[in-house]
Subunit: 351 residues, 4 copies
Amino acid sequence: MEKRRIRFNCDYSEGAHEKVLEKLVVTNMEQTEGYGTDDYSRQAKELIRRLCGGTDGDVHFLVGGTQTNLTVISAALRPYQGVIAAHTGHINVHETGAIEACGHKVLALPSKDGKITAAQVEECYLAHMQDGDREHTVMPKMVYISQSTELGTVYSKEELEQLSKTCRKNGLFLFLDGARLGYALVALENGLTLEDLANLCDVFYIGGTKVGALFGEAVVITHPALKEDFRYLIKQKGGMLAKGRLLGLQFLALLEDGLYMEISRYANRQAQRIREAFCEAGIPFLVDNTTNQIFPILPDKVLEEWKKWYTFTYQERVDEGHSAVRFCTSWATREEDADQLVEDIRAISFC
Amino acid sequence: MEKRRIRFNCDYSEGAHEKVLEKLVVTNMEQTEGYGTDDYSRQAKELIRRLCGGTDGDVHFLVGGTQTNLTVISAALRPYQGVIAAHTGHINVHETGAIEACGHKVLALPSKDGKITAAQVEECYLAHMQDGDREHTVMPKMVYISQSTELGTVYSKEELEQLSKTCRKNGLFLFLDGARLGYALVALENGLTLEDLANLCDVFYIGGTKVGALFGEAVVITHPALKEDFRYLIKQKGGMLAKGRLLGLQFLALLEDGLYMEISRYANRQAQRIREAFCEAGIPFLVDNTTNQIFPILPDKVLEEWKKWYTFTYQERVDEGHSAVRFCTSWATREEDADQLVEDIRAISFC
Amino acid sequence: MEKRRIRFNCDYSEGAHEKVLEKLVVTNMEQTEGYGTDDYSRQAKELIRRLCGGTDGDVHFLVGGTQTNLTVISAALRPYQGVIAAHTGHINVHETGAIEACGHKVLALPSKDGKITAAQVEECYLAHMQDGDREHTVMPKMVYISQSTELGTVYSKEELEQLSKTCRKNGLFLFLDGARLGYALVALENGLTLEDLANLCDVFYIGGTKVGALFGEAVVITHPALKEDFRYLIKQKGGMLAKGRLLGLQFLALLEDGLYMEISRYANRQAQRIREAFCEAGIPFLVDNTTNQIFPILPDKVLEEWKKWYTFTYQERVDEGHSAVRFCTSWATREEDADQLVEDIRAISFC
Amino acid sequence: MEKRRIRFNCDYSEGAHEKVLEKLVVTNMEQTEGYGTDDYSRQAKELIRRLCGGTDGDVHFLVGGTQTNLTVISAALRPYQGVIAAHTGHINVHETGAIEACGHKVLALPSKDGKITAAQVEECYLAHMQDGDREHTVMPKMVYISQSTELGTVYSKEELEQLSKTCRKNGLFLFLDGARLGYALVALENGLTLEDLANLCDVFYIGGTKVGALFGEAVVITHPALKEDFRYLIKQKGGMLAKGRLLGLQFLALLEDGLYMEISRYANRQAQRIREAFCEAGIPFLVDNTTNQIFPILPDKVLEEWKKWYTFTYQERVDEGHSAVRFCTSWATREEDADQLVEDIRAISFC
């Protein structure tokens, strides 16, 4: 029997978790208000506030990540202000200049593992603000980080506290892109919680698209300056879903019984099995992490062969003969597919 | 027994037609490519091209109307160019300045019924282009019309032909917003078809959100200049859905067996029943039309009373004591709800 | 002897008043700081603050009107906010969509004489803010008026007070475009002063380009929210002149001995002579005013003839056979040129 | 007698060369067309075309560098396209995000001496264009270089030919910022001429502000796609000078008798004298070059002392105890001021 081609290239190859879909189906013919002002959205917002430790933050639902990033950043910055990010940050490299299209420079900082440090932020801020002619350069006003990062790494509680402290000292907004927040929250040993995020960030989001929803990101805004008129920006940027309840309903399904954490844990476990197989086979990694993305450095010959049975993402050339690639697991990864991959990894070790 | 409060305020109060939802459910756990490059999206695009008379147009799927409008217009215009529209046009009044946020002026023309004429377009174009200092004014480069319009009216084939001719003569792109295209297509006696639209417009869309889908608009681009790099713009503006198949699947469901036309006809029929009841009750209309939106002018006393049982949209004050409001039907309007409204209308006539 | 062709088409056909030029010449080889931080600019700013009644407003110098308008409006508005203006306003019709290119809608109000009223502003504001779905429309946040207007009319002190009161009540910034401020200030019988402008407006400018300078507009910002980081915006929008002293020097020359008012009075006097000649000849006007722009409605035959000896601006067709045109005087208008025109006007009356 | 404080911090501390100023004075009261359509501007454009080897390029005059950069780049790019530049490029670091404010990402390449190579451009282009998901990244469409660079270095003819070839091969526009073009043209041994620039670049400018004019940059556009409607963009971006002749007149003065080259040579000679003095004193440079900017690395103690008599620009800290600074000469540098500096440099060598 022929092997199926299995997708490990990303964490959004399937539809939604069955409980999410079910919620949409059973409420389908109900009549509700549009644009996110319905009762389901209200309930989901209330639930999120509760999970964030009873924050008085505003919650808004958007459809996707790029849309969320550009809307939040547009809300935060005056025209001459910029946003600091790792050069690997999604807004810097994978959003077709969406932030610049809203008029703002991304001030990119070097990073090996997808993270930036409080010290880097401070240095960048001072470099732009101490000069006598400072109005000739962009004014940094926001820091963008991803949790987990584009390289699967996570900020520890201490790292986030330092970033938060530096941002507050210098009047910078701290914005955490949580497109893969589930995978990060359950990966942490030190107990960084949603409540911590609400305390340490000025705005962050709980990603649904990559963690069990059909689509959707739940933005939590705690800084008063960012709350003002946010719905105007959602509408103007094209992100206000007519049937807004679809977003509220999905987040209710994901968050009301701990499903979000449960499926994130599952995905990380599958990733860990695969990661360990690579380790045992003596395969090095481009970057170490404990979430749902794995970045092995593999012989090009193996990659050429594997293309027939797997899809994965090309990351970068490492040397003549070897490339780093990305494998992702998700809430939807099937055990038997991970088994298959593990088996094929073991086969390499005998090469 | 207490009467339920029934929503007639818009055509997107419910979820999706059951056939649309079913398609999402049965394909849910399949693995596909992301970002609209999957097979379902490909099939849906092929189907749409076929329904448009075998056009070689490009088809793209977006989530919502404002997003579609701003993406198409960004694709069409250089920075100093503007788009001509009726002053009642959605882009002019109900998108929070989304077009201006992309840098472009909306050149608004007066309109009583939501439509603009070829003669108006020509006059506006010439007024901006004949002056010796024409670079001091915006250059008109696109015409935006809605079918059906925001006032429920429809352009006849002849009207559209004239607009198209004027646009081509003057190098203007013709863009038709089809958020409610279904209701317009089946309302027309003169047989304006998708094929006609593909021939007469440079770009138009087939609206899903208001005609049976959870969400989604299918953009058809026939002018080569507008095709170029359109996916870059979708991504940059935040409109590229990660699980793009959700859009392809919904349009397959709507279009493969004529469902789109069928449910549009149903909605118009319900509207017609209600409209006739108003007529018989001697209630005048703000504007005449034959689609799914009805604009009666009612005594404020009646409206005050009706608010308890119905939701409808306030349109404008007509005189002291009377206001125009909007009632919408849709594919999801229940016969018994329309019956109820008709009954209540009849009751007015005895006031 | 052949008659010279005389320019009455605008108020910027010549260079600068000799005293302005002289100041540039005598300081030419001095070394100063760049970007407007030099002593001459400092002195000019201090002088302007003094002339504005000792205001603590910030003063900035920019090169031209469109640049000033787009910089001020960019400083004032968040992305979803718009600026209210007369439909005849310079920003609405003669700046190639500069405001929209900065992302903002111009909310145009009808006007016969170039002015808008407090009542119109209030109505426009309420129409955008009372609706339950107000985030679907642009939020008005600034009012733009010109003094004198594009039709040469002036706001009286009372009219300006009413506008100011309405703006403050509704949280709208009041911005006065003073490209032709000199001609307006000396035209008023009721004593509207620079001090009044500083009190009633949140930001306004004293136009130099059209009143004796080579170029230059002096912006006075009294509202604290508009002061913040204004130099960043000047730089970003391309308006920060390297040799900023050129602006400071010119305004010193214009303002230190009352030259600005003196030459404005002269221009208005020449305009008045021409206006009276038209009156006596029975020529009607498109709009009545007492500043340096004159809008006679003339037979096309006369205009055709006059084109040989004069340049003037075509305004609009009034009826078959008659058009409204614009004649401008300025500080540089020569008495003998005005004499010539008056003579030619008298000749019409005998047609 | 007390020493005067002498400015070497930039090349725009004085007004204009006397011949430039004289031209403005003698034509001051002439009446001309506005907005650059006058005869002087026409003559200056014709002269520039002739000096560029009879190119059929379009010539436009703008007031300043940032304004020119943002206008040219806006004319060249569609919304999702970006411009490649050295990370030290003026548009990347010293224009307050002006390019991003027009919607475009600056794709910054590392550079030690302010220059970028054809190989770097090619690599950057391919990195953005080979990926299957290339619409997720910005599309490079223009290359921006400065001649001389922000570090005073110059591209040789061969380097420019290679850049040009790479750009043409990949459909990239080549844009040369010539704010300091004079100093570069006369610094080159290999004879890179204006004609070469017209042949090798798609658009470039001849800087006036830093080379003898009060202000002004002359843009030469040779690529047909960039010519289209360029005046619309000048107007929209606020760069259309009402009294446009001021620009034409200044370029006539600078270019009609070789003044531009002559004064550039003079400035470079003064720089060379100073540079040699540093050399003899054993002072190293941050970067080697032969134009009007000098970047010595000096002991902080010396800099502290020199601050009393000279202004110069702080560039960067090199080590504890030493900093790189910038001294500029210009057409206006006085021999005796350079003498003074040379003398003070010699004094260091005995420390």
